[in-house]
Symmetry: C2
Subunit: 165 residues, 2 copies
């Protein structure tokens, strides 16, 4: 189908998969950075005005391998029972048909082609496919009344047509 191309790579203190936490939000204080390839630098404009963003990565260390178990029904890392198989689409397990990782990162700052962030759940060198700003109106389940995320910085969206819907 479509060929992916890295827009940059993660610099992370985690050197091996075994050393890496399973989700960014579980290690919110661990610092990392994304080094964006020079040709994508203009795409970072305005990202500094957001507190949180999604980082989409290529989970390059976790190819689906045929080890006799069904790769569509892994035993998740967080399972309490070692025989608890769950459908892969009901897990965040890294070995997936399309190995795309989704991490919520806290943007600390953008300096040139470097995005400094906290909340690192991927190994050093992981290819980054995309960065998308976290926006409450898009990324929260519908709640009434809405929960308290109004203080978070959401860049240009704050004054966009979104406020007029």
């Amino acid at each position: 189908m479509t060929e992916l191309a890295a827009i940059g790579h993660v610099r992370s203190p985690h050197r091996t998969a075994a050393d890496t936490p399973i989700q960014a939000r579980l290690t919110p204080d661990t610092a990392g950075s994304i080094e964006i390839l020079p040709e994508y630098l203009p795409g970072l404009e305005g990202l500094d005005d957001f507190d949180y963003a999604w980082m989409l990565t290529l989970l390059h260390l976790d190819p689906v391998v045929d080890d006799g178990t069904d790769p569509l029904r892994p035993v998740p890392f967080l399972a309490t029972d070692p025989d608890q198989h769950v459908g892969v689409f009901a897990t965040r397990y890294p070995a997936r048909p399309n190995p795309i990782g989704l991490s919520l990162i806290h943007i600390v700052g953008v300096d040139g082609n470097t995005v400094e962030f906290s909340g690192v759940d991927v190994v050093d060198g992981t290819p980054v496919l995309d960065i998308k700003p976290w926006v409450p109106a898009f990324d929260l389940p519908h709640r009434s009344p809405e929960p308290g995320f109004e203080d978070l910085r959401i860049g240009w969206y704050r004054d966009s047509k979104l406020g007029r819907r």
Copy 2:
């Protein structure tokens, strides 16, 4: 880099891009479904126990085209100023270096190879790349006190090691 393969396709009432809302959460009541390809059916096991999930799609209608403007600095649909260019990584604009869409969907039910959901922001026939369960511990910015999403169904995660962290 890595070749993507659709795991299924979206059935949506939106037939054209112009007819399609910009984000799933802005049309929370519009019903759609994902038809999973038969070979990925085992991966759906347990998804029915979640209220919300991420749907990753291939935004196949929005290739980055060279029309003279910088594709890395589009004018977002929600901009209030028609000359307001923003770095693409500070937007959810669909034409991106890696055209992967991220939609938060409300799972209504899973019936065979069909995932019924509400909150449709993609056009009929859009290829689906991945489904990941929405889990507050992974997908919410850190808040203290934590906001009220405790009532949402999060399947096997409720009794997983996550509760023991």
